[in-house]
């Protein structure tokens, strides 16, 4: 029939499975009532609209894939085969299709309307389900894999996709929606790390924020500034400061009418978190703290009065800090002190608040040991560690990391702090830590990593490239004898300055991890994570 041929052409152009489906319906019902056909046309038009919207979301490459796949079944579309091509969800639709096709004259208007509605519902459901997948929904993929669940592609976090313009655009849109200013990258990035952000301290994130800060709570603005200038540095310090700022946010919060605290407060926190991650990428410990807070907020029962809820949240925050940071460090010191014997020479790297605490406690418990502090540029955090230890009265030696292999024969133990412990047992810590672990392993010196359990994270990384943080490259510029050689590094085309912040140490180099749950080998981290998840 001319009509059906016309429609056939149409359906080829749109080339989806619906077109095929409708095609056979039309073919089957070519002698059907006039009303039925018109209804069917209307139905098809609606479906084409659906498809068009779906396609607009997907974008060109998938469109080509679609067309390509569609061209395959287009020549072959016997009614019987098409049900087989259909994917899981529309199977129901097609199931309802075939009986319809079989008994088309007997259908009444109402029943067909009901079927149409059912079909649309299933399609909507399938659209929802497939959206996460980010792949073509089954309906547009009439290939012969209908039964397998489409592999769900996990969305990569934005902060490691800086060289992808689409991801950047999405981020810009999200920040615009939240009224958080976008911080622009600075300077030439070394190509291996071009997928990471690199900000300059001379362009603070507060440049575009109004004074006084209205969209973002003032204590969050202050916190962001302190992060970006490095005034609050170190995983524990950042988490504590974050929770303190959240306490102030909660204190100043009041529920708008017709809203529930449990839902609205979480929405209010999102722009703040975006702002903080613009100032400095969030650490794993901060991420866990945020997850905890959000969970606590959403667990507030709706009958709870606002004052009561706020008080409860403040208490939760206090208890979290107390348990996970303060008491954890006490527990870890207790375990660690067992490992420190008299006459030990302990090597530490950089300034880890936990390791400093352990050493101070051990000194108070009258252990006789001396410490070698290893430091590295550009942060020179070891100087701060040195100051704290010497103030306590501990005998210290200070070297730069380039002298590591010279000093290691004297060392009996290495104590390292961690920024995060990854799920495959790798230790993420300040850049230089993996060097220390490697050389210590070569010298057969035991390496002990001290880390609280709240820093354990689900991420898996095997190298330091994929997810890291790039600090301000101008920090590497130093003036000696009045001369600043790197002053105009941007003008030299072939020169790039790289200021990495973190690196990962493989578990083979780490002998023991001391956590508040006890002393565990590095490979037991996933077990701890599993146990933690079960608890929560």
């Amino acid at each position: 029939m001319a009509d059906s041929d016309g429609r056939q052409v149409d359906s080829i152009n749109h080339s989806t499975e619906e077109g095929v489906k409708l095609q056979e319906i039309v073919q089957a019902k070519c002698e059907g009532k006039e009303l039925t056909r018109e209804e069917k046309q209307r139905l098809r038009k609606e479906k084409k609209q659906h498809k068009k919207n779906k396609k607009d979301d997907r974008g060109p490459p998938e469109k080509e894939k679609e067309k390509e796949k569609a061209s395959v079944p287009a020549p072959s579309k016997p009614a019987t085969q098409s049900p087989a091509h259909k994917a899981p969800v529309p199977v129901n639709a097609s199931a309802s299709e075939s009986p319809v096709a079989a008994e088309k004259p007997a259908k009444s208007k109402a029943e067909q309307r009901a079927e149409r509605r059912a079909r649309q519902d299933t399609e909507r459901a399938s659209k929802q389900g497939k959206k996460e997948g980010g792949q073509l929904s089954a309906s547009s993929k009439p290939k012969a894999t209908p039964n397998e669940l489409q592999p769900v592609v996990k969305r990569l976090p934005e902060h490691i996709q800086v060289d992808d313009p689409a991801a950047l655009k999405k981020l810009a849109k999200k920040l615009e929606r939240q009224q958080v200013p976008l911080r622009s990258d600075y300077g030439y990035k070394v190509s291996l790390f071009s997928h990471l952000h690199q900000y300059s301290r001379k362009n603070p994130p507060t440049q575009q924020i109004s004074i006084p800060a209205t969209v973002i709570h003032p204590s969050i603005v202050r916190l962001g500034l302190q992060y970006s200038q490095g005034i609050i540095a170190g995983s524990n310090a950042r988490s504590v400061a974050l929770l303190h700022a959240f306490k102030q946010v909660i204190r100043d919060y009041s529920t708008p009418p017709n809203e529930e605290l449990s839902r609205d407060l979480v929405n209010k926190l999102s722009p703040y978190i975006s702002f903080l991650s613009q100032c400095r990428p969030l650490s794993a410990s901060m991420g866990n703290a945020i997850k905890y807070i959000k969970k606590e907020i959403s667990n507030i029962p709706s009958q709870c009065k606002e004052e009561e809820a706020k008080r409860r949240l403040q208490e939760c925050i206090d208890s979290y800090i107390n348990e996970k940071i303060i008491l954890a460090s006490e527990a870890i010191s207790k375990y660690a002190i067992e490992k420190i014997s008299d006459g030990d020479v302990i090597l530490v790297y950089g300034c880890s608040s936990l390791v400093n605490h352990i050493l101070c406690e051990a000194f108070e418990k009258q252990r006789k040991f001396r410490v070698i502090v290893v430091d590295s540029r550009p942060r020179l955090e070891g100087k701060e560690a040195l100051r704290r230890l010497v103030k306590k009265g501990i005998r210290c030696t200070y070297v730069l990391i380039s002298a590591l292999s010279y000093i290691l024969p004297e060392v009996s133990k290495v104590f390292l702090g961690a920024h995060a412990l990854l799920a495959n047992g790798y230790v993420m810590s300040r850049v230089g830590t993996s060097q220390i672990a490697l050389v210590a392993k070569a010298f057969n010196v035991p390496v002990l990593v001290c880390c609280e359990t709240y820093k354990f994270c689900e991420r898996v990384q095997t190298d330091s490239f994929v997810s890291n943080e790039l600090d301000d490259p101008d920090d590497l510029i130093v003036t000696r004898n009045g001369k600043t050689h790197l002053e105009n590094w941007q003008t030299v085309k072939s020169l790039g300055l790289l200021n990495l912040v973190y690196d990962v140490t493989p578990p083979d180099f780490v002998d023991l991890v001391i956590t508040d749950l006890g002393m565990i080998p590095c490979t037991s981290v996933p077990v701890v994570l599993r146990v933690k998840n079960v608890d929560q």
Binding site: P204, S210, I211, I231, I232, G234, V240, K247, I321, E384
Partner: protein, 470 residues
């Protein structure tokens, strides 16, 4: 679902207390340029055809303030509600507090006067500040270091233009300010004015011990822009002897950074002691919130940051009171409190704006010559064969034919008859310059009349009743 952006914004404002309140001090008399201000209050002096007070208001509006507390006199208050420029251009809410002109109120007294209105930390601005500073630089220091005082300073510009009425070289007796900053250039360690010093600079040993490297700078202009903590206002309420922010409060705060009293931790114990001795000290410390200090203290302990290197003390040497300064290296910063500054500001300011140099309502005949760096205000009338170069002509002024105006400032409502030649002069409001007058480097006061064919050079012409003021 969430409200739409605007309502969400304003709602959010109500949700948490504002971070900063702006206070604009506009009650000053302009004592250093009485010739200009005896009839017009300083905030209303036209600079680039806008009243002087417009500039700080514009600065505050640009960075995002939504309301300002303006402390001023009745006359200025009237102008704020009637003047076109001020009413239409300024979109912020102005909370005007009037004080009597006769009472000699210092800036600190004024803060004490409005103590009830102040609920958070404040940003104090003076009405004579014209600057394009990125204000977030000053406020960021205040925020990041939790400072008690954060201020703005700028390199002093040498004024090169001849100032009318100035005889001889500029006196070097412009009292110098000695400003001591640490190696980073941000922390304010020392501040003294030459007038307060007897023999020489006196430094406390405690400062030298804590900051062995100090840079002393003298060529700096204080922009009179201060971020002050709320506790400072409460301190002012208790200490009625402090009258001026710049003269007394700021040096006091800078000194108190290193005072022994403030660094003691047991504040409650010391209150009784100090109350008997000096009521000044204990207030500043007590008034900081102590409950959340515990968490902040923990964060600071765990943080591996220190503001200085080389000694055994913790960050900030454990001091609770900190003063910071942002020194502008480049950019524009003028305090219009002398005649020279006024003239310089008039020169520089028109270049900033994209307003058309000739106001649309001004009537400028075709045969007149208006230079590109001159600005003509609204409702002016410029007649034929008139040449105006590098000058500012104010509102509703009438310039008749064959007049030559160079390098001059003509204020509002001035009438200049034919054939005049005006060079390097300042003609104040409603003055009348007679026909054929030749004025070089003169200052003609408000409402004065210059007789025709007068020839004046380097003179200040003010009313006879004003002469008595000296």
């Amino acid at each position: 679902m969430m409200f739409c952006c605007e309502s969400c914004c304003s709602f959010v404002l109500q949700v948490f207390g504002m971070e900063l309140q702006a206070v604009l001090m506009a009650a000053g008399g302009g004592s250093r340029m009485m010739d200009l201000t005896y009839n017009t209050p300083k905030p209303l002096l036209p600079v680039g055809n806008r009243p002087l007070i417009w500039y700080p208001l514009n600065l505050l509006e640009r960075v995002g303030f939504e309301e300002v507390i303006v402390i001023t006199t009745k006359e200025v208050q009237k102008a704020l509600s009637t003047d076109q420029r001020l009413k239409t251009d300024v979109k912020m809410r102005l909370d005007v507090v009037c004080i009597q002109e006769e009472t000699d109120m210092g800036t600190a007294d004024a803060l004490r006067h409005i103590q009830q209105k102040i609920k958070t930390d404040i940003l104090v601005v003076s009405c004579d500040l014209i600057t394009d500073v990125a204000l977030h630089e000053v406020v960021d220091l205040f925020r990041a270091h939790n400072a008690t005082l954060s201020m703005l300073m700028s390199k002093v510009h040498e004024f090169t233009d001849t100032v009318p009425g100035q005889k001889g070289k500029k006196k070097a007796g412009e009292q110098r300010d000695f400003v001591g900053v640490d190696v980073t250039g941000k922390r304010l360690l020392f501040m003294a004015n030459e007038a307060d010093l007897e023999e020489g600079l006196v430094f406390r040993k405690s400062i030298m011990r804590k900051h062995p490297r100090m840079l002393i700078k003298t060529g700096l202009l204080d922009a009179h822009l201060y971020c002050l903590k709320r506790s400072v206002v409460d301190f002012l309420v208790h200490n009625k002897s402090v009258t001026s922010i710049r003269g007394e409060l700021v040096p006091y705060l800078v000194r108190k950074q290193f005072s022994k009293f403030l660094n003691t931790k047991n504040a409650t114990e010391d209150t009784e002691k100090n109350q008997k001795q000096q009521d000044a000290h204990h207030n500043l410390e007590l008034l900081s919130t102590s409950k959340e200090e515990a968490l902040l203290q923990l964060a600071r302990e765990r943080s591996c940051w220190n503001d200085h290197r080389g000694d055994m003390s913790e960050a900030y040497h454990g001091g609770k009171l900190r003063c910071y300064v942002h020194i502008m290296e480049e950019g524009m910063c003028y305090r219009v409190n002398t005649l020279a500054a006024y003239i310089e500001a008039n020169r520089v300011v028109p270049k900033l704006f994209e307003d058309p140099p000739i106001h649309p309502t001004a009537v400028v005949t075709e045969r007149s010559l208006v230079g590109s760096d001159s600005i003509i205000g609204p409702y002016c009338q410029i007649s034929d064969k008139t040449s105006i170069k590098r000058s500012n002509v104010g509102t509703s002024s009438t310039i008749k034919e064959k007049v030559k105006i160079t390098n001059s400032i003509i204020m509002n409502g001035v009438t200049i008859e034919e054939g005049c030649n005006i060079q390097g002069s300042v003609i104040c409001n409603n003055a009348v310059i007679g026909r054929g007058a030749d004025m070089k480097y003169c200052l003609v006061g408000s409402g004065q009349c210059i007789e025709p064919e007068a020839e004046r050079t380097n003179e200040v012409i003010v009313g006879s009743d004003q002469l008595m003021e000296i």
